[in-house]
Subunit: 360 residues, 2 copies
DNA sequence: GAGCGTCTTGTAAGCGCTTCCACAACGTGC
DNA sequence: GCACGTTGTGGAAGCGCTTACAAGACGCTC
């Protein structure tokens, strides 16, 4: 084609025609003395290439330091071998754990991944998704979407493969991976009740996130099962972050008759609770039992180590990738809704209450 | 005017030929009754399109929900409008701060960014870089490289634009953005000396990272200036992480004659130090002064709030993007080496020592 | 030894876009 | 009424790759 210059010497890239820019498939073909189609076959590991030819091509690629052009491949094949990951933030152990799992599985399956942080800029999200889904990625993972944005509907219409991670509300026709938040919370509250706690407070997550409601429901169920009353002021709004946990706990602990245990809807929030307790010279767990949710690495690390509900975040990331790839391979496979098991991890931040409160 | 297909109706995409898949530039051209070249001009905001034509095209794009195919554009234009970011990890406040800055500036400048976490898998890094630089991204940001890998040399040869972030050793011909680690550390140590400390220990960062050596040098300079001896056992190796800080501090504090102040080469390490102190029932700052480095958000947050050397991490990310874009626009612009100012932030974790140690 | 598969290779036609070049339709100024 | 630039538009040639399709070489059968 264009730069098939058969006359000149072919073995010296810097000689004859002074090539500029990285080598293309044509250059390799020229050096190997085969057609570019054959080079392409070698690159893609097609079987029908004679061993000796293959070796010549491989040698030429090495010699020229050939690297396939990503966009060109993507355009020709109609897929990019990249999956996109849409997360709100990157500076939060919850997301980084999930991302870590995605990273691991994607790379194991030969996919790259493209991380987009939305910073909750809702207006940009839709545009992001539109562009990603047009030639940048083959499929999309969306972590912890708040509500169910319009673009999800659009993706569904376009039959573009995607998986929602940790989305707890209804999502008809969508693949979802999440964890059994409600059951996990119930187990945690039961654990506190078994230790003898009667006044157990809850700090919720962000209201827009479905998992918040699930955890609240689990709390209420466990309390009801045990016949314990739930005081409305014992349910404090949080934000899944340390700051919200701290604020909520400060409120709870400054009351004349504070709870003896606090369940926080995330580990970060639980860290905030512990800080608030320490500031008041309350010891954890002697004066206050604290339970978190997620089991991020730091939870096992602190003093006291945090009792928490383990949510298999990395595994969720991995599972989501597998689900997505399944849909990539067979676009007609029906969307699945997977809930991974949570597990109560009892560590040092919970103990029997010092005195049984009046409510008990 | 001129109609491409004068006979049939051109406004109904779902009529005549049943289109499948997302709309292309041709579909838009058909609906708008212009050639695809004109559509391309509109997309790219070229001036030479009549107002009325432009509007027709825009209407057609809206009607079809047209989104440009990213790979196709990239292939045709030779650039992607994406910059790549190579970082070791994503679950570490240091990186996330830098990444946040990059994100912000890139998006302000109309670029997307592609985050690749290398997890210190050195063998994969080079491959990553090769692929990224071939049609995935226009330029590369490399955060905190350990040593100066071979692929950097390759990038330089290929004249591929890249910027190193927080790389402190020699890098001839490379653009670098970092901070004045040495001066910052000197200021921190001086602060401790002014408070009356004489036995000041240092916990280093990872050895492979240039900034570690800079901080060590700053420490040694400040001690020498004050005429204070540096005991070899007061310099403990760390890893920039909490776990290393904890381990090093545990060692330092378990000695019969422990230092009265510890400088940690990162805030995370300082958190580890504080934890180690608390476990020994040492109070910070009364019994032990602690200084960190970085000033990640958590530093101002803890109790006690951490005295630390502020490194403008977000700003470093932003600056690096600006530098990279400069090189993108003018590939012959000479590489610059920018060092942003560090600043000592005095908070609650430092105080005069309880008793002047024998060394004083 | 003609007819038939199989294996290997080359040619050509795209993928969806940008952009150079050409050309028509318009004024201008003389 | 002519040459002349301007402006708006269409046609065509790529960008670097994949992948039908076709064709040549080879070995096999009957």
């Amino acid at each position: 084609m264009r730069r098939a210059t058969p006359g000149s010497d072919t073995s010296d890239a810097s000689g004859g025609t002074a090539r500029q820019g990285p080598a293309t498939i044509f250059d390799v073909a020229l050096v190997a003395g085969v057609s570019y189609a054959t080079v392409s076959r070698v690159i893609n590991g097609r079987a029908n290439v004679r061993g000796e030819t293959r070796q010549r091509v491989e040698a030429a690629m090495r010699e020229l330091g050939y690297v396939a052009h990503v966009s060109a491949r993507a355009l020709a094949r109609g897929r990019t071998q990249v999956i996109g990951l849409l997360a709100e933030e990157v500076c939060n152990a919850f997301f980084t754990e999930v991302i870590g799992g995605v990273d691991q599985e994607a790379s194991a399956q030969g996919y790259d991944f493209l991380l987009c942080t939305t910073h909750a800029r809702r207006e940009k999200e839709a545009e992001y998704v539109a562009r990603l889904s047009r030639g940048m990625v083959d499929g999309l993972l969306i972590v912890l979407p708040r509500g169910l944005p319009d673009y999800v509907e659009r993706l569904r219409e376009d039959a573009f493969p995607f998986v929602l991670i940790d989305y707890d509300a209804d999502a008809p026709g969508c693949s979802v991976v999440n964890a059994t938040s409600r059951a996990g919370t119930r187990a945690a509250i039961r654990h506190l009740i078994e230790l003898g706690h009667r006044r157990i407070a809850l700090i919720t997550g962000r209201d827009a996130v479905g998992a918040s409601h699930e955890r609240l429901a689990g709390y209420q169920e466990a309390m009801a099962e045990a016949g314990l009353p739930v005081m409305p002021e014992d349910i404090q709004p949080g934000d899944f972050l340390g700051i919200g946990g701290y604020a909520a706990a400060s409120l709870l602990l400054s009351r004349p008759d504070p709870p003896t245990a606090i369940f926080a809807s995330s580990d970060l929030a639980a860290f905030g609770v512990i800080r608030a307790a320490q500031e008041r010279r309350l010891r954890v767990p002697e004066d206050l039992s604290v339970v978190g949710f997620d089991d991020i690495p730091e939870a096992g690390w602190m003093t006291p180590a945090l009792t928490t509900v383990r949510q298999p975040l990395r595994e969720m990331g991995r599972t989501a990738v597998r689900q997505l790839l399944e849909r990539l391979e067979d676009p007609r496979s029906s969307p699945a809704r997977l809930a991974l098991e949570t597990e109560l991890i009892v560590r040092g931040s919970t103990a029997p209450p010092r005195v049984t409160t009046s409510a008990g």
